[in-house]
């Protein structure tokens, strides 16, 4: 049996990496993206694994190579890299291709994370909380933070430990979280809640509700119709800024015409 110089990475070391991973984008740049942030996050583990100064600095330099992924799922790659570095430092796997693993995982996890967190979870939390805020629930911003961060922090922390435990087996990560299916589900629910928000237009706070002397149903239908027209305009390529400026101009014209 081979005699390995086992260097243990404990939960405290992983928590130190996790804590630093919250700042992975502190020096984000177009040229190097998260390269410095990745090296900064993994540094506590390298310090423990490589007592030899020259080797430690060589590994630290290696981790300053180009890196970019979705910041939350970066923790999975960090966990996997800590595991590979541990195996390398202890002599179990001196040929571990740490750079290859990072390069292989960062793009797919980036696309997956962007689609799930930015494209599905954030809109769902935002639409739900905004619908409540517009109907008078002042605590809705807290609900937004809760809905978002339960998922965000839960996945971010567990992905680090999972990456460490399975040495970066992305299939295990995907089987556990089913990001694509969840993203589709969240998008569908977001649209349903958004429709509900428009259906609740007669119950909106007075600051948002048009002062029209019509029935509640007609008011809600008018809101839906205007939304669909604006969706059509937006689909033709109008940027939010341009459409907002156009709306302001329309409002001025309507006010001058005496319609509003």
């Amino acid at each position: 049996m081979a005699d390995y110089d086992d260097k243990k990475i404990g939960a405290a070391d992983l928590l130190a990496v996790f804590w630093r991973s919250l700042l992975i984008q502190a020096s984000w740049s177009f040229e190097r993206m998260q390269s410095l942030g990745f090296a900064y996050a993994v540094e506590p583990a390298l310090r423990k694994l490589y007592p030899d100064r020259a080797e430690y600095e060589a590994r630290l330099r290696l981790h300053q190579e180009y890196f970019n992924t979705q910041p939350y799922l970066a923790s999975f790659i960090l966990g996997a890299v800590v595991r590979l570095e541990q195996d390398r430092a202890s002599g179990r796997n001196t040929a571990a291709d740490v750079s290859g693993l990072k390069a292989a995982l960062m793009s797919p996890l980036g696309a997956l994370g962007d689609s799930f967190f930015w494209g599905a979870l954030k809109p769902l939390a935002a639409v739900t909380a905004t619908a409540l805020l517009m109907t008078g629930s002042s605590w809705a911003p807290l609900l937004f933070l809760f809905l978002y961060n339960v998922w965000h922090l839960g996945i971010r922390a567990s992905a680090l430990f999972l990456g460490y435990a399975n040495s970066g087996d992305a299939v295990d990560l995907l089987a556990r979280y089913r990001f694509t299916k969840m993203a589709k589900l969240f998008k569908v629910i977001s649209l349903s809640v958004l429709g509900g928000m428009l259906g609740m237009l007669p119950a909106w706070r007075q600051e948002f509700r048009p002062a029209m002397n019509v029935g509640d149903l007609f008011l809600a239908l008018s809101g839906l119709a205007i939304t669909l027209v604006l969706t059509g305009i937006a689909r033709k390529g109008g940027s939010p800024v341009k459409i907002m400026l156009g709306l302001a101009a329309c409002c001025l014209a309507l006010a001058y015409a005496g319609v509003i």
């Binding site: 494209g119 809109p123 589709k184 629910i189 349903s192 259906g199 604006l230 937006a234 006010a255």
Partner: protein, 259 residues
């Protein structure tokens, strides 16, 4: 004309510091979504004594910018600076009781600021490349402490960007609100109506991003559920919301997510 006396200057400075700190959450630190308009707007409004302005501005800007995603090298509009500045301009320009027209005008002003904030974000991200090169050069003969210093300097750069933009926009915006007060009533009516249209624009932008169809079936299901529950059964908003979530979930489950 508002007087830029000591309390006003202190409020402007305090708002800029808060904007700088909340702005860190946007990219550089944590990304807990404290920087989102729905949080940043009400927080600024509460801080400056006009929670209503914060709620209105936060809700509207959240809907408009929520699907503007920071993917790859794309720099999205800085909705944090927009929310903090619009709320502060409305609150400080009206001494804590902004009318709907002033809120609308403040929103319009910060819409004009969006290209400037995006340009500033781009400059910071270009400048940050120097930090990586500095760290790479130094660690050849030094330790990870130098790397940490170079990396964390990025936080200061991101903070200063939001802080400086806020200091630049706020006095100009507050002066503009004072001028707006002297404009004809027509402008005020137009801005009040503008605010009421913005949530609908936000909803439209979300539909555009989340659905391939202009008239999405799930949007209509949610609308019908809410309209019926509200108009016929007078159900409270929270119950209606639960209904629409359940409706969406059931639709996705039994519709087989064929999208």
């Amino acid at each position: 004309m508002p007087i830029f006396d000591s309390p006003m200057l202190l409020a402007v400075l305090g708002t800029a510091v808060v904007c700088g700190l909340i702005g860190l959450d946007r990219t550089a630190a944590g990304q807990f979504m404290l920087s989102q308009p729905i949080v940043a707007g009400p927080l600024t409004g509460w801080m400056l004594g006009d929670p209503t302005a914060g709620i209105v501005i936060g809700a509207v800007l959240e809907l408009i910018w929520v699907v503007d995603m920071p993917v790859g090298t794309f720099v999205p509009a800085n909705s944090t600076i927009s929310a903090v500045c619009a709320t502060a301009i409305a609150a400080l320009g009206s001494e804590g009781a902004a009318s709907l027209a002033v809120i609308g005008f403040s929103l319009l002003l910060t819409t004009g600021m969006v290209p400037v904030t995006m340009a500033a974000d781009t400059v910071v991200r270009k400048w940050n490349a120097r930090l990586a090169f500095t760290a790479a050069a130094v660690t050849r003969e030094s330790s990870g402490r130098t790397l940490a210093k170079a990396h964390l300097l990025g936080l200061a750069v991101f903070f200063l960007k939001s802080f400086a933009l806020c200091l630049l926009f706020l006095p100009a915006g507050i002066a503009a609100v004072a001028l707006f007060g002297q404009m004809p009533e027509t402008f005020h009516r137009a801005m009040s109506f503008f605010v009421k249209l913005l949530p609908l624009l936000g909803a439209a932008l979300i539909v555009r991003r989340l659905s391939m169809k202009s008239v999405d079936a799930f949007l209509i299901i949610g609308f019908i559920l809410a309209a019926v529950a509200g108009a016929v059964f007078h159900a409270p908003a929270l119950i209606i919301l639960v209904l629409t979530v359940t409706g969406g979930w059931l639709g996705a489950r039994y519709g087989g997510l064929r999208r």
